[in-house]
């Protein structure tokens, strides 16, 4: 493919667009509520009303407001109307409204803080383009960033741009991406690899699924740019098997990119080759850990190994390997297109850019949001989320999944950035944000996560394998009102031990939900304790 051909596709696609674009959300959430029936019903209505010359029905990825799905939007000229909780029955009236009728479907509020507080960078195409058609991605400038880096920049210049942008890993730990890229670029080796970590295992998180389902080409293009920057010619995308739609759309996207010559040998008439293969997970949370993920791609049990050596030096089959999370890679194209300075101007001092969160749990407006770093939890939960659906009081919000912690309502003015969240005892994590109300028992929450870690522990190191079981049993004992203060002390001791002696991130962070609930909700633990024998009962 040449640049001229790329622009020709973009122009042709643009010229063929119709006056009105009706977008129908077809990501996993809305699909479960008959989104495909809705699309059929919309198409039928267009045909019946003879509007085929004027109206286009477009399949799009996640529009974000999953709690009010299925979503349909109508864009005419510069105006967009949103409909929510659409059904196949009332969908035709949306088409009727274009011709001057009245829509029966529920009107959404596009001026709601849920939408206006957002800053789409990673999700700028999500809910706008058809993820199953490469032409739609090319129309909005797709693959021009890849062309730009191959034609105009040296690999080291690309690494420098990522370094300057201040981008940090979105998988949870927040390691500076530019630094990682430069380590792999500098590493010696004939063969290097790019690995995209799409093993989004944190329960309560679906950012990566949504990005892969809504805009797979951004991830592919980001991987190719990474390949050029570090000198890798092959990339693997590791996706969990629980995401069949994301896998299908990725497979399709890779096929289309190959057909268009945007993946393969001699990209844009250069000597740069890049190919991508998909590897499907088989249901093991620990595979999100990078060394375990590598073992899994190599066809082995997904068990982590000690680092160093880091994958940047010795990764897949012993070769230097760059592992980045889906969201991290989805940030690459915007950074290349708009520049490192632009990106660095978003967010806070040490946390640049935006973060995608899955806002779920006891919250009125649940769904996927992308917000600038530095926004407070209060703005997210109260303004955007609109409080609890049943009016009960919010107690805490949990971020970071089983490795994270609970942030109590008193600390809701904490800004969302890597350091601030760490300071209050939680972590940014991959982006799950689960809201808990008064009705949620925090000891039970700790037990829920501990059960998760216990079952997902790979069994390789003893502190994690045995420690999680013991902590789980103690939590269970406390909940059954059979424990005493001595058990609580044992639990705290175990937390410390498992945290400090486990081999990988899973074990090291497994005690976090206990530690953070103990820190802020110690009373809930104490209330469940029994007096020691001989202790005086008040």
């Amino acid at each position: 493919m040449l640049f001229e051909e790329l622009t020709a596709i973009a122009e042709k696609t643009k010229s063929e667009r119709k006056q009105v674009c009706v977008r129908c959300c077809m990501s996993a959430g809305c699909m479960s509520s008959q989104a495909d029936e809705i699309k059929k019903s919309l198409e039928q209505a267009v045909a019946e009303k003879n509007l085929a010359d004027k109206v286009e029905i477009r399949r799009v990825g996640c529009m974000g407001f999953c709690g009010k799905g299925p979503m349909v939007s109508v864009e005419e000229k510069d105006e967009t109307i949103i409909y929510q909780e659409v059904t196949p029955e009332n969908a035709p009236s949306i088409i009727g409204a274009i011709a001057g009728g009245k829509a029966e479907a529920e009107l959404g509020d596009s001026k709601h803080p849920f939408f206006t507080h957002q800053m789409p960078v990673v999700r700028s195409h999500g809910g706008r383009i058809d993820p199953e058609q490469i032409d739609g991605y090319i129309e909005v400038g797709g693959y021009t960033a890849l062309h730009h880096v191959i034609q105009d920049l040296s690999p080291s210049q690309v690494v420098e741009i990522i370094m300057q942008s201040g981008l940090r890993g979105r998988g949870g730990a927040g390691y500076p991406s530019g630094l990682k890229w430069s380590m792999v670029a500098k590493a010696k080796g004939e063969q290097k690899y790019i690995v995209c970590n799409g093993d989004e295992g944190d329960p309560g998180a679906f950012m990566d699924r949504s990005v892969l389902e809504s805009d797979p080409h951004t991830v592919i293009e980001g991987m190719a740019i990474a390949g050029y920057a570090v000198g890798a010619s092959l990339g693997y995308i590791y996706v969990r098997a629980e995401y069949p739609l994301a896998i299908n759309r990725l497979q399709l996207a890779i096929k289309q990119a190959k057909k268009h010559g945007l993946l393969g040998d001699g990209l844009f008439d250069s000597t740069f080759n890049f190919n991508i293969e998909i590897r499907i997970g088989a249901g093991a949370f620990v595979c999100g850990e990078e060394t375990a993920l590598i073992a899994s791609i190599e066809g082995r049990r997904g068990q982590p190994r000690p680092r160093p050596p880091f994958p940047a030096e010795s990764g897949l089959w012993g070769c230097p390997t760059l592992i980045n999370n889906v969201e991290t890679l989805a940030n690459i194209v915007p950074i290349i297109t708009k520049g490192a300075d632009w990106y660095a101007s978003l967010g806070t001092g040490k946390s640049k850019g935006t973060k995608v969160f899955a806002l779920t749990g006891k919250i009125r407006n649940n769904g996927l949001i992308e917000v600038p770093m530095g926004i407070t939890i209060r703005e997210i939960v109260e303004d955007m989320g609109g409080g609890t659906p049943d009016g009960t009081k919010i107690k805490a919000v949990q971020t970071g999944g089983p490795s994270g912690g609970c942030i109590p309502v008193e600390l809701f003015d904490t800004p969302v950035d890597y350091e601030s969240l760490m300071k209050v005892g939680s972590i940014m994590g991959s982006g799950g944000m689960v809201v808990m109300s008064e009705e949620t028992n925090m000891v039970d929450v700790a037990k829920f996560y501990m059960e998760f870690c216990m079952e997902e522990s790979c069994g390789k190191c003893i502190p994690c394998r045995v420690g999680t079981v013991q902590m789980y049993n103690l939590l269970k004992k406390i909940l059954e009102r059979k424990a005493t203060i001595l058990d609580l002390e044992a639990l705290e001791e175990l937390c410390d031990m498992v945290q400090n002696t486990s081999l990988c991130g899973l074990g090291q962070t497994a005690p976090n939900p206990v530690i953070s609930t103990l820190r802020y909700f110690r009373n809930e633990y104490l209330e469940l304790l029994q007096p020691l024998p001989g202790e005086k009962i008040d």
Binding site: G29, S32, A284, K362, G432
Partner: protein
């Protein structure tokens, strides 16, 4: 020793699909997980004969093949029911009462999570998180996700699938 085709355990045509998969990946040992996915897709579970055959074909010790097959939650070593029902127990679903849904279905089908009914009609499973948190609590019936369910609705839906031909 050169990678080569080893004759499958039986004349069943499905073995061919699996062999194509292994050939595509060059009968390399790292094709193991991908191959097991194919076996499970074709046969519904991983029977011992299949594991032995994959072990020989990829020249991976049987112990390692078994190790991988038992490590990953998704691989099933026993035949599954005609229908399957996966209750999501992710955090969002947990907060919204997934435990009650699971309990209701367990009582309805008289099996525990991870088991299959005696008539081989239904396998009940749980998932760590299916990523459909926006519609929590969610249940996946024969691969189709349904959300915002009450325990009663979850059972009604299940009945619909069980009685479908």
């Amino acid at each position: 020793m050169k990678a080569q085709q080893i004759s499958p355990p039986s004349a069943d045509k499905r073995w061919k699909i699996i062999d194509v998969k292994m050939r595509k990946l060059g009968y390399k040992s790292h094709a193991l997980i991908e191959t097991l996915h194919s076996v499970q897709e074709a046969f519904g579970f991983l029977e011992l004969d299949a594991l032995r055959w994959v072990s020989k074909s990829l020249r991976v010790p049987a112990s390692k093949v078994y190790g991988v097959a038992t490590f990953y939650n998704l691989f099933k070593l026993k035949p599954q029911g005609k229908h399957n029902c996966v209750v999501c127990t992710g955090t969002a679903c947990y907060v919204k009462g997934a435990a009650k849904i699971l309990e209701a279905i367990e009582n309805f089908a008289s099996i525990k999570s991870g088991e299959t009914t005696g008539d081989k009609e239904l396998s009940l499973l749980t998932a760590r998180c299916i990523g459909a948190c926006g519609i929590a609590p969610a249940v996946v019936y024969d691969g189709n996700a349904a959300g915002r369910l009450s325990p009663e609705q979850a059972i009604e839906k299940l009945k619909g699938y069980l009685h479908a031909v």
